[in-house]
């Protein structure tokens, strides 16, 4: 299976995503240049973290106009998997691939920490190898990670099981203490209505090695393989 990792100017987790795919799960990966219009036959698109266009104007607001995003949108529309991490999540929201927006963290500081997230729905192409309610450990590193959406959208996300990850305590409690950025309903990740675009603030690609503290992100990539290959 081939993963295409998009490099926008200012992307800085493209390398980590590439390594996670090739090193950890042993699949093929290629970098997709933002100025191109070619997904090079990628089966899965990763919109990586970073500061595309310096986060100027608004995180993700300029990157959504990058040439490659036309093809990414078409890929998503056709049901192709898109994994949007951190800045990628922000870009996906700006591009309308996912509802809602990522706002400045409620405490107004950048937050870099290992967080715990609870898996809310395992019936997706990104989470089918996790247990429902399982607690994962992953790093977050962002200044604009507070997920917000209109009340109606939040209700819809909840009703349709599209909240995939929530910030939680070690014992699985959804608490304000466990929420690193003030996201509504502790939302850490959501999925599109069609179930093929996952946006999340935590970094699964940084949780791919016991040496670095957690390998909880590996099964996310393996879930995609399991589903797409099936």
């Amino acid at each position: 299976m081939k993963f295409g990792v998009v490099t926008f100017p200012g992307s800085n987790c493209d390398y980590d995503a590439f390594q996670a795919v090739t090193d950890t799960v042993g699949e093929e990966a290629t970098y997709l240049w933002h100025k191109d219009h070619d997904l090079q036959g990628s089966d899965v698109i990763i919109l990586p973290g970073g500061f595309s266009y310096g986060d100027y104007l608004r995180a993700g607001a300029i990157a959504r106009f990058s040439p490659i995003m036309q093809e990414v949108a078409a890929h998503a529309k056709a049901g192709g998997p898109v994994l949007a991490i951190c800045n990628g999540f922000q870009i996906a929201c700006e591009a309308g691939l996912l509802p809602g927006a990522l706002m400045r963290n409620s405490h107004l500081q950048f937050v870099s920490a290992e967080v715990r997230i609870r898996v809310e729905n395992v019936d997706t192409m990104f989470t089918n190898l996790y247990e429902r309610g399982e607690i994962l450990r992953m790093p977050v590193a962002h200044g604009d990670g507070r997920y917000v959406a209109p009340a109606g959208v939040l209700e819809e996300l909840e009703a349709e099981g599209r909240v995939i990850f929530r910030y939680a305590d070690a014992d699985g409690t959804i608490s304000a203490d466990a929420n690193p950025n003030g996201s509504e309903r502790n939302i850490a990740g959501i999925i599109s209505a069609a179930g093929n675009v996952l946006g999340m603030m935590p970094h699964p690609e940084r949780a791919c090695s016991p040496l670095l503290g957690s390998s909880d992100g590996v099964r996310l990539l393996e879930s995609i393989l399991a589903r797409v290959a099936a």
Partner: protein, 768 residues
């Protein structure tokens, strides 16, 4: 015969103008002698920058020459943008530390941010991809609202810049002491990884090769930043805010990628950051290293605004710019690479055979200096050095003559109070604002003894740390200089690394004052002794003098940035206790020296006594034994004893990692010759707290290595208490109290409104 003529509209050269440029009368005469005529305004500006302390090292050079700089694995020593050492497998590590003190004192956010940007460029211009950032910060007391403003601004500036470029900030140190009240120290270190074959030097070569300006355009910001950095801070410093550069980390990220691509393309022969003194210093230094002449036409430099004079273009310190010597005929290829990253590259000059440094404005020659004398002919001073009698008296004072406070009857009170001293307390408030995990190499991030980064494609890792205790250097610069190196070495060794080499950032006061120059000379001598004994040569660094404000000089603070190598990932060792029932051992001699300690400063408000002795040869034995024990697989954790002594080290082993706490039971009652406070809080050097499932093996390795070692207790994973049995009493402290003191102090202080609050009001445990 020179064709240089004053440019219409330039000011007349008057003694007042010369003084304004920071040149002494003798220096001006030297300049006139070198030119054989009156300099132009442009030339005066150039010399003002190049002969500033910041660029010329005129007070420090002769002393720096005494430091050891070589080892078989040193690929590049001092004199380049960064030092480089080989780590085997065809790989090398480039690293360098640099100060941005003065800008940060006036504009903390941009001052710190551009400090990070500058040191990043120094490393990637060697052909290395930056893999880690460290920073060493000193502020006044956090009780002061302006200090809190400086602290939060500096932390935000470091974070915003490094996070955006995508380089993890993994380690460093933050110290709070009134000595740094109006003159904070902001030192940033960058570590990069490269293939040895990609190493490139900033040496202009090849007559006829084009010189290109690459990256951001040149604006009017930061003009005379280097000169500003070379004078004491004063009440008028705020007015020099325009001399401070403004950083754009997004452009830096593009420039980083473009530069690495350029270096690998083979289209260029040299590349250098336009840092302090901008175009002037980068072009002059490249010419000097290559022993060639250069000519630059300022009208070809891409500028942000029209109407900039040659003087402004040459001295601008606009950020995110590089000077490149390309191979002739490859100009378009260079432009293509830059264009890919939406950056510009313009040919602005040429390498010439004629030994001259020439600047033109179109056809008009506006500056011309003979040969490479621009850099090499700068003045050099050896001012008087004499120890301050007041400091010698302080050193002679006996710390044990200070009576204990009544509260000290319960040593747990003292311990908790020390853990909540901002210098010792957890700095998570700061480093949670730094992305420490991007690039997925960080095995041990901020909060450990040293940070550890794996080296992909190998089974190796590197350990990095900055260290310096300015209080020790103040009380005894020779010993303090030695300790700075030894402690940094010990810290990397605690993670399982062999200390390899250092970079240093020497922050001192005004060198024309004999007592300051004495500190400088002595501290460098002490560093040199330790570097030789430990086998860690100096590969470069930075000198920052004139760290003085109207309230006086900062503590002399020679910060050491140490790089160590771990040759097997299995040897990576953490600071905190890991396993239940492990034995706790003290490697090294208990000592019990209180002079210059955090205990005296925090509990008694005193800075006095002789700092702890430091025998560099014994430090070497300790490090050897520690590494041998780690490699033998018998060490579960290792933590250096430093600020706050053994008691603080033990407490940190218990609670520093909130995700992995342990209790412990220790027995120090055998040290009955020493007062309890000396046992607990003395800061004798050469000590490491080790936990081990096989204490006999650790003891045997220590005995064989000639290092004192004592079994002092055991780890109790389920216990909620740290117990220390002393000759006359037993100290018990619950982990919850230690945790609160250590982890909550700085967040609590920073959550306060900016109103003035005293430390006593703020310290969470002080109310008891």
């Amino acid at each position: 015969m020179s064709g240089v003529k004053p440019r219409p509209g330039d000011p007349m050269i008057t003694p007042a103008l010369v003084a304004e440029h920071g040149l002494t009368k003798q220096e001006y005469e030297r300049l006139v002698g070198m030119l054989g005529r009156t300099p132009t305004f442009t030339e005066l500006g150039i010399i003002s920058a190049l002969w500033s302390e910041h660029c010329s090292y005129k007070h420090s050079r002769p002393i720096l020459k005494t430091l050891p700089t070589t080892a078989p694995y040193v690929l590049q020593g001092p004199g380049e943008n960064a030092g480089v050492i080989s780590i085997g497998d065809g790989l090398a590590v480039a690293f360098k530390i640099e100060s941005h003190n003065h800008p940060s004192a006036v504009e903390p956010y941009q001052g710190a941010a551009t400090g990070v940007g500058g040191i990043l460029r120094d490393v990637f211009t060697m052909g290395a991809r930056p893999i880690a950032m460290l920073n060493s910060l000193r502020f006044g007391s956090l009780d002061d609202s302006r200090v809190r403003y400086l602290f939060s601004g500096v932390v935000r500036g470091i974070g915003d810049y490094g996070n955006c470029v995508g380089i993890p900030t993994v380690a460093g140190e933050i110290v709070f002491d009134p000595a740094y009240e109006n003159n904070p120290l902001v030192n940033a270190m960058c570590v990069g990884l490269l293939h040895e074959k990609d190493l490139i030097r900033a040496k202009a070569e090849g007559v006829g090769n084009p010189i290109m300006a690459v990256g951001a355009r040149t604006g009017r910001d930061g003009i005379h930043g280097a000169s500003f950095a070379s004078e004491d801070l004063s009440d008028s410093s705020d007015a020099k805010r325009p001399r401070i550069q403004v950083g754009d980390p997004f452009t830096e990220k593009l420039l980083l990628e473009a530069s690495l691509e350029l270096i690998r393309s083979g289209h260029i022969v040299a590349i250098q950051d336009m840092g302090a003194a901008g175009l002037t210093s980068s072009s002059a230094e490249m010419a000097e290293r290559g022993d060639v002449g250069v000519t630059i036409d300022v009208t070809r430099v891409p500028t942000r605004e029209s109407g900039m004079s040659p003087y402004e273009i040459l001295l601008s310190e606009s950020q995110e710019r590089m000077l490149v010597v390309a191979k002739k005929g490859r100009e378009d290829a260079v432009r293509d690479i830059l264009a890919k990253w939406d950056l510009t590259a313009a040919v602005i000059g040429e390498v010439i055979a004629e030994p001259v440094y020439r600047v033109t404005e179109g056809d008009r020659v506006v500056a011309e200096f003979p040969g490479s004398r621009l850099v090499t002919d700068c003045p050099s001073y050896s001012p008087d050095a004499r120890e301050s009698i007041a400091i010698a008296d302080l050193r002679a004072a006996d710390p044990f003559a200070i009576p204990e406070r009544p509260e000290e009857k319960d040593p747990a009170w003292t311990l908790e109070r020390l853990l909540s001293a901002p210098t010792i307390a957890s700095k998570a408030w700061a480093y949670r604002q730094y992305d420490s995990t991007v690039r997925t190499n960080t095995v041990i991030g901020p909060g450990g003894d040293a940070a550890v980064l794996r080296v992909r494609g190998t089974n190796k890792a590197i350990a990095v740390k900055t260290d310096c205790n300015g209080r020790y250097v103040y009380l005894d610069p020779r010993v303090g200089g030695r300790i700075a190196v030894a402690e940094a070495a010990r810290n990397v060794a605690c993670t399982g690394a062999r200390p390899m080499a250092i970079t240093n950032c020497l922050n001192f006061g005004n060198p024309t004052r004999p007592e300051v120059f004495y500190q400088f000379k002595e501290a460098v001598a002490g560093m040199g002794e330790a570097c030789r004994a430990l086998g860690t040569p100096v590969t470069g660094g930075n000198v920052s003098l004139y760290n003085e404000s109207p309230s006086g000089a900062v503590y002399p603070t020679p910060v050491i940035g140490m790089v160590g190598l771990i040759d097997d990932l299995a040897h990576i060792t953490r600071a905190t206790f890991q396993r239940d029932a492990d034995a706790i051992l003290l490697l090294g001699e208990l000592g019990g020296e209180l002079g210059g300690s955090e205990y005296l400063a925090t509990i008694h408000g005193k800075v006095l006594g002789a700092p702890p002795r430091c025998d560099a040869a014994r430090e070497r034995l300790l490090i050897d034994a520690l590494i041998e024990a780690i490699r033998a697989g018998v060490v579960s954790s290792a933590h250096d004893c430093s600020d706050g002594g053994l008691a603080v080290a033990l407490a940190e082993c218990c609670i520093a990692n909130p995700e992995n706490e342990s209790g412990a039971e220790t027995d120090l009652s055998g040290y009955s010759a020493l007062p309890d406070r000396a046992i607990l809080f003395g800061e004798s050097q050469g000590r490491v707290v080790v936990s081990s499932p096989a204490p006999e093996r650790v003891l045997a390795i220590a005995v064989k290595g000639g290092v004192p070692c004592a079994r002092i207790g055991r780890v109790l994973r389920e216990s909620e208490t740290l117990t220390i049995k002393l000759p006359k009493r037993t100290m018990r402290s619950t982990l919850s109290r230690l945790r609160r003191a250590y982890h909550e102090t700085i967040p609590d202080i920073m959550a306060r409104t900016p109103e003035h609050a005293t430390f006593d009001e703020l310290a969470p445990v002080a109310a008891h």
